[in-house]
Amino acid sequence: MTIRRTLVDLAVALLAIVGIAIVLEIWSRAFRVPSYLLPAPSAVAARMATDAGLLAREGGVTLSEAAAGFVLGTGVAFALATIMAWSRPFERTLFPLAILVKLTPIVAVAPLFTLWFGFGTAPKVAIAALITFFPMLVNSFVGLRSADLQEVAFLETLGASGREIFRHLRVPSALPYLFSGARISLNLALIGAVIGEWTGADRGLGRVIFVANANLDLTILFGAVLVLAAIGIAANAVVGAAERRVLHWHPIAVAT
């Protein structure tokens, strides 16, 4: 059932994109919009077909960088959130630092990362991790603190240890928050990877977009953007399906 839902979601998204493409196509033909300003969707589609191999390869690079950054960023965020939920002093020390990280403009540190970590995969993963870190930290922290106090008291009267309360109550209570954090972080990870590639790379969709920009090669630019969007939509659908499966007990999952 969840797979069918996912497919329906994807079909609706696809339909919307096709609809917009048709409007743009009519518009660009009717007003003879020059291709260096806005290429006709048909031209973009044709270019995507000829360069399908390139887009798939570079898309794969960006996806794997984003995925690695996502895992790293959300993993560290969850670990820190656990510590923060555990102890108030840690919360007070770590939260301002987290906000500092959050407020640092990614575009400012991206070139720095390239300088530190070179032109390979590492700086892209680092940027994707950095950008996913904060939303996941906040969601994990609020989620771990969201456990019902009566239920905490119930487990305490049974002599449950802090670890048992964490495992049996706090983590499951946090799951809805973790999923909404993951949804936000997933798209951010993709953006982070592209920004990383933009500032210095020989691979990835960001690199394709960068070169296309320099050459005013708009068809491949839009092609790359569309591939990026497709990856984002697919990733969201996967998380959505996982969420419905894991949170089947949750009122929101039941309602949707």
Binding site: E164, H168, V254
Partner: protein
């Protein structure tokens, strides 16, 4: 008869004092604690369970401090409007107490499934809490507290959020429960009739903060009791006696 719960001149509070000089002993009986909302009834339960340290006085549970009794898994706790664990089925909620603090030995001879059956929930044993009514959820809360067969049962207005008919059913259930096997029960409620129907003794707390024990009424009504008792004059005399202590 050994004393299961003993509070000796206990005072407690959070930022300000809530309870002062509370003396209470419970031994294999049901003691209802009655007071107005906000009079410190829940605080009293938290004290007995050792979730709150007294500012003065001593609390003994089965001859030891509450923290130790807790580690020995001797305390059952039923809260008002139990949220349960929504990701667990009825059966999994009832087995939860057996999954934590495994080093403590429990004297439970009745299986989790049997407790579910006794609460009349066999058909819903694989249902999730969001699929249950409030009354059914409270039955699950009761079952999961009893699965460890605790000597001490602490109940914090367990029926307060239910409709009248469901409440009556569950009252009968509770009567059968402690008439079948005596335990030391502290039953907190603001419902005077409920207190008189269920308890062996009613303790009234109140007054301006911090609250004190204002008096005690022994309920000498014979057991087993049924809700028919509520029509008898004796019952009403006792209710009036408690009411006068509250006012």
């Amino acid at each position: 008869m050994s004393v299961a719960i003993a509070l000796h001149r206990v005072s407690a509070g959070y930022s300000g004092p809530v309870l002062r000089d509370i003396d209470l002993e419970v031994a294999n009986e049901v003691v209802a604690v009655v007071g107005r909302s906000g009079s410190g009834k829940t605080t009293l339960l938290r004290l007995i369970a050792g979730l709150l340290e007294p500012t003065s006085g001593t609390v003994d549970l089965l001859g030891v401090p509450p923290a130790i009794a807790r580690r020995r898994k001797r305390i059952g706790f039923v809260a008002q409007d139990a949220r349960l664990h929504p990701w667990r089925t009825v059966r999994q909620n009832v087995t939860l107490p057996l999954e934590v603090n495994r080093s403590a030995r429990t004297n439970g001879h009745v299986s989790p499934d049997e407790w579910v059956a006794r609460m009349g929930l066999s058909e819903s044993i694989d249902a999730y809490p969001h699929q249950l009514s409030g009354g059914m959820r409270q039955r699950v809360a009761l079952a999961r507290s009893l699965v460890i067969d605790p000597e001490v049962l602490l109940m914090d207005e367990p029926l307060a959020s239910l409709d009248e008919l469901t409440r009556e059913d569950l009252r009968d259930e509770l009567l059968r429960l402690w008439e079948g096997r005596p335990r030391s029960v502290v039953y907190v409620t603001h419902d005077i009739e409920e207190a008189v129907l269920l308890a062996d003794r009613v303790v009234v707390i109140g007054g301006h903060r911090p609250a004190r024990v204002r008096g005690e009424v022994a309920i000498s009504l014979p057991r087993p009791r049924t809700k028919a008792l509520r029509r008898e004059p004796r019952f009403h005399d006792l209710v009036e006696e408690v009411r006068s202590l509250l006012a």
